[in-house]
């Protein structure tokens, strides 16, 4: 069969083989790409800003666009993936939502106050102090985010509150190396 094949026959056959063998892989790629773009993604934590809850090099699963429709609003203590407002195209961070729209956030003597009331952050090491001191009045559609590792996190304390459009999605849990859901963190 192969000896008397024309050039066209070889192309027809070759392309057919490639397509036939690869079609399920291509389908898988398409489905996963769509899922990864619009629904669920993974990222690798790079840095210690959420330590000890998210550690460096851990693989985290997150829901994309969960807040885009406006029907679901970010809640306090949600761990979210945000774009850095100074460079939204290139820099993404994992932070925790601390202040909600129209609230006031104050940091004083290592503690966080929401609307002038002490905010108890159970997910933090009790000995950890939040610094530097500051006061922010959030506008409508603005959120105050911070990393759990307060001494080693660049967050709203430094770049200010972020608008809703910079919140890309919500973390679901760590999938590698040790599986755990955000609710358990």
């Amino acid at each position: 069969m192969s000896e008397d094949r024309t050039f066209l026959d070889k192309i027809l056959y070759g392309s057919g083989v490639v397509f036939d063998l690869a079609k399920w892989l291509i389908l898988l790629l398409i489905v996963l790409s769509v899922v990864n773009t619009f629904f669920v993604g993974v990222f690798v934590v790079d840095g210690e800003s959420m330590y000890p809850n998210f550690r460096d090099r851990e693989v985290v699963l997150w829901r994309k666009g969960v807040y885009d429709s406006g029907q679901v609003k970010p809640n306090r203590a949600d761990i979210v993936v945000v774009q850095y407002p100074g460079d939204p195209k290139h820099k993404k961070y994992v932070k925790r939502i601390v202040g909600l729209p129209n609230e006031s956030v104050q940091i004083s003597k290592g503690k966080v106050y929401i609307n002038k009331k002490l905010y108890s952050e159970e997910y933090l090491n009790p000995s950890l102090l939040t610094e530097p001191d500051g006061y922010w009045k959030l506008k409508a559609g603005e959120y105050f985010v911070m990393g759990d590792n307060r001494p080693n996190s660049n967050d709203s304390r430094y770049f200010g509150p972020i608008e809703t459009r910079f919140i890309m999605g919500k973390s679901i849990g760590v999938v590698f190396p040790r599986f755990r859901l955000v609710e358990d963190i």
Partner: protein, 496 residues
Amino acid sequence: MDTGSTNSQNKSPLTFGIYWRKLGFFGSFFIAGLIGVIFISHFNADSADFDYAVYSDNPVSDIYLSQNGKIKIGEVAKDKVNILGDFDEIRTPVIDSPGIYMDQFVVNLHLPDNIDANDIQYEILAIHGVDSTESFISDQRTIVYRAYGIGPSATISVVAKIPKGLITYSALDNLLFSLRSFSLKKWLLFSFLIPLITTSYLVIFLYIKLKQQKVEIPADEVSSLPTSIPPAVAGALYRQKVTAREIAATLVDLAIRGNIFILDRDRDFAFAKNRFDNRLLGYEKILLSKIFTEHVFSNRQQIEQRINDHLYSRKISLYTTGVYALATRLGYFKVNPQTLHGRYRLGGIAAFLLSLVGFLVSFSFSDYPYLSFIWIGMMASSLLFIGLAQKIPIRTDSGRSVTGQWLAFRRYLSSKDKIPFSYDNAELFQRFLPYAIVLDCEVAWAKRFSEQNFVIPKWFVSSKGGFGLQDFCLSLFPIVSYIAQGLSSVREPGFE
């Protein structure tokens, strides 16, 4: 590939129905896909590659905004204003990890004549080691952003929010903004419309072609074979394709002609060679060589292993080629259907792969996240084209005429009138049975003989006793259908 030299009978028996070559092949594909997806999908949170900053040795930088929304940094056009729903925005990093300590850095944003700096909301964002920042209006057309004590890892960005209507955008910019504002529903609608239009076009095209090349069926039934051609060729002429039915019909035809026995055993079956016939057609010899090795007997497990232990079977591809070639040589087709189908397939695959490239590239346009749906629509269209184009009629005048006669013969085979017993038609049932299989009417054909006393053909050996016609059909049809489907599924691509 199946080279035909493997002696499957010497292989160890199968366990759990796992065929290791296929499992290994598809398993490796799956693992490769999984690794690929993990690599392409992850990004590093809290870090980023960065290739855009205006930092230089000069600690003062000038950004010029023009009236049409273009941004120049120094003398070089760098970016455009970001068009948003409520306002237009400049949001650009100016320093990222300079690698040295700087006492201060100043950015002057120069506005066009029609924009007053007092109308602008402005701020400077700085992280990763900056002592302090400030921003202020220096004159009506200039905003100054200043940072002090800049560390080697610092990132500094400037932001300016411009009220709507002050910048005059080009038609293209406005179009792109409109596209960006499209809702998910609109993108989904577009992506659905593409395959819908493709399908509509192909269906209309097929309708016109089928009308132009309509097969005229003679008014009267034809009660004998219209032409003396093998059942597989009649089937290829009937549906312009070689399918599992042609393979099944060839097996039954070979049995009727005394070349093989079909053995029906309790919950199992086998094939046995009978005699060597040098009048066998090429594709028939190939089919037999696929079922039998050097032994005269092949049971179900051995045939299944010969089918399933290969990704593709070259022999079954050659069988298909043989049938198409004979039908074309007899003048029934304008071109060999296999070649034509191959060309359509190539065109469809090329369109599919182009769409796939577009799909993957579309992810780099982060402002248009739903653009990828359009490419999915294009891919669906390509697959529809591959499927539907194969139905375009390609019979010659002679082919259409003969097809009409075969359709009239099919009418005879599927008639509801019972055929009474006579010595002349004692073997009529099995003589036309292979043709009834390729013409999709074997059950109707069998029903015509329900009032006759049935005698099991010599080529069908069953362990069960008291066989009637219905038992015979219920035993034979599943066996040949099962084997034919299995064989048909391992044809190489392009030989369907």
